[in-house]
């Protein structure tokens, strides 16, 4: 394929004190794929997400989205380049209802913020319902987000990201805190939604069963650098990966990461 990558980074660096959390990462994500980032705890996965979405500013290197340089843009500008994300620690607006949560994301993206005479409760209501329906949350629409059970909050988190109408979706551990038996169902839902909308997905996930079942491509990080990249099959076979990472899995309970 000669197609341009939809998202790529060039020699990306981020240090905290003396530790390089991300050390020269070159990443290239193809359009329409589900691309997983895996690696042991402290490998720099979440830092990489923070860099890609503008929550952290890289010390060096560049980030390109669809060929445009977005390095150093603040988060609220990055999302307008159609890159949306979720957070590892679920982060929704607890005092607003689920519907209002999604409405707000639509309002912010649709430029309603600076229209003081438009009543918020009438903004993008139908679109917000549609998104809640897609993540199967319509029955909880009028409950306050803070009162929702954890699994529903995870879905709302996803709904907030989808409401930003992304081309690229960054999911930071979408299944964390979800019971193992329910994970495939949630990921099937994710897969369905992103395929229907043609969204490119970047996924951080600790559950290897999830990763190997949904990912088209996998990048393995260790101590801030890429040690392998390829299809699930290639990554599984990579001796380096087996040494630093999967080796633990065969001994452990199928959930590595507790380095």
């Amino acid at each position: 394929m000669t197609e341009e990558p939809v998202l790529c980074t060039e020699d990306l660096w981020k240090r905290f004190g003396g530790v390089a959390a991300v050390a020269g990462v070159n990443l290239s994500v193809r359009r329409g794929t589900v691309h997983a980032i895996i690696g042991p705890n402290g490998a720099g996965k979440t830092t990489l997400f923070h860099l890609l979405t503008g929550f952290l500013r890289p010390d060096r290197g560049r980030i390109q989205i669809r060929g445009e340089d977005v390095t150093g843009l603040p988060p609220y500008r990055v999302v307008h380049r159609r890159v949306a994300r979720t957070f590892q620690i679920t982060s929704v607006f607890p005092t607003a209802t689920a519907l209002e949560n999604v409405q707000l994301a639509r309002a912010a993206m649709g430029g309603y913020l600076w229209r003081p005479l438009t009543p918020f409760r009438r903004v993008e209501v139908e679109e917000a319902w549609e998104i809640l329906r897609q993540v199967r949350l319509e029955e909880q629409a009028h409950r306050r987000a803070g009162e929702l059970p954890h699994g529903d909050r995870k879905k709302l988190e996803l709904a907030l990201a989808l409401a930003c109408d992304p081309e690229i979706l960054l999911l930071d551990e979408p299944t964390s805190g979800i019971p193992v038996p329910e994970r495939p169902q949630l990921m099937a839902l994710v897969r369905k939604v992103v395929e229907a909308r043609g969204i490119t997905t970047l996924l951080i996930e600790h559950d290897m069963d999830v990763v190997f079942s949904v990912a088209d491509r996998i990048t393995v990080l260790n101590r801030g650098t890429v040690i392998a990249e390829g299809t699930p099959g290639e990554v599984r076979a990579d001796p380096e990966v087996r040494r630093v990472y999967l080796g633990e899995e065969t001994r452990g309970s199928g959930k590595p990461g507790g380095r």
Partner: protein, 317 residues
């Protein structure tokens, strides 16, 4: 699949029924006809305090930003309007507008710095900037009159009558509060609350968090300035103390004791505190001490404000 209800978020929200607003408006309209004139003067003060408290609550309640320098913008509005009448001789209604604009500008500059900090740092910084402005009003004697105040800036004849002025203030404050309420109920208000609850999430869905807070700070300061510009022509004078930290703290108390989670909270707080401040000093010169006692009691008994007390009783009783 959808009924009409789904077109609104239809959450049971804490809103006053229409009859409350209607009877309140009717009451406010006939008030000066039944009250003796010293009380009408007092009523104007309460209206202006309500505007001050409600404007502050955009920051305290909706934004979660506890400002202790809010009265300084009240001071900017009042002093600029008064000084332009007294020293330049501009017509008073024009200077009231200029005073408000000056407050907007000042709030924009100060807010630019303040919204960079959160929590306790924001409190410290607003207090410090507020006292800086207070110092200017107090020390710049040639222009502001210093400790002796800026005096004798009454508007021309029909407006010196307290009943006439009452109606003017009622209309202006009513319009300002209506506008503020619309802003609070707009996507901007929702965004402001979102930034309060989860700033990172807000940024991630495309809300420029700091800019939203900055705009709220500017609007809030501007409305305080409007209250100040109306105040100076009401009393014909302006004193530094009205811009000092005590006045800011009083505005915070109105918002917090009234109930910052709802739009009416600060209005209720303004009525209660201004009435106390009017009545109690007649009984004792040490009324601040007793106000302090009341505040401590309120902090224990109604930490979410007086209006929430009422709601709770209605729901449970």
């Amino acid at each position: 699949m959808w009924d009409a209800r789904t077109l609104e978020t239809a959450r049971p929200r804490a809103r006053e029924p229409v009859w409350v607003w209607l009877s309140l408006s009717a009451g406010l309209l006939v008030l000066p006809l039944v009250l003796p004139s010293p009380y009408v003067v007092q009523a104007v003060d309460i209206l202006l305090a309500a505007l001050l408290a409600a404007s502050l609550n955009l920051l305290v309640g909706y934004g979660g930003l506890l400002s202790l320098g809010h009265a300084a913008f009240f001071g900017v509005g009042g002093y600029v309007a008064g000084i332009l009448v007294k020293r330049v001789g501009l017509p008073w209604f024009a200077t009231a507008g200029i005073g408000t604009a000056a407050a907007v500008l000042t709030a924009a500059v100060i807010g630019f710095f303040c919204v960079r900090l959160a929590g306790a740092y924001f409190v410290m910084l607003t207090l410090a900037f507020g006292q800086l402005l207070y110092t200017v009003f107090w020390k710049w004697k040639e222009v502001t009159g210093g400790d002796d105040g800026l005096t004798d800036v009454f508007p021309p004849v029909p407006w010196t009558d307290s009943t006439v002025y009452y109606y003017l203030v009622l209309v202006v404050v009513g319009l300002a509060l209506w506008g503020l309420w619309r802003v609070c109920e707009s996507p901007f208000g929702a965004a402001l609350k979102a930034v309060r609850d989860s700033p990172h999430r807000a940024e991630a869905i495309g809300i420029p968090a700091r800019r939203v807070q900055w705009a709220a700070f500017t609007l809030s300061g501007g409305l305080a300035g409007l209250a100040g510009s109306l105040f100076v022509f009401h009393h014909g004078s302006m004193f530094p103390k009205a811009a000092g930290w005590q006045s800011s703290a009083e505005a915070v108390l109105m918002a917090v004791l009234g109930g910052p989670d709802r739009f009416v909270g600060p209005l209720v707080g303004a009525v209660v505190i201004k009435t106390l401040a009017f009545l109690v000093p007649r009984a004792t010169p040490y009324w601040q001490f007793f106000l302090g006692l009341v505040i401590v009691l309120a902090a224990f008994l109604a930490p979410r404000g007086l209006v929430e007390l009422r709601v709770r009783r209605r729901r449970w009783g």
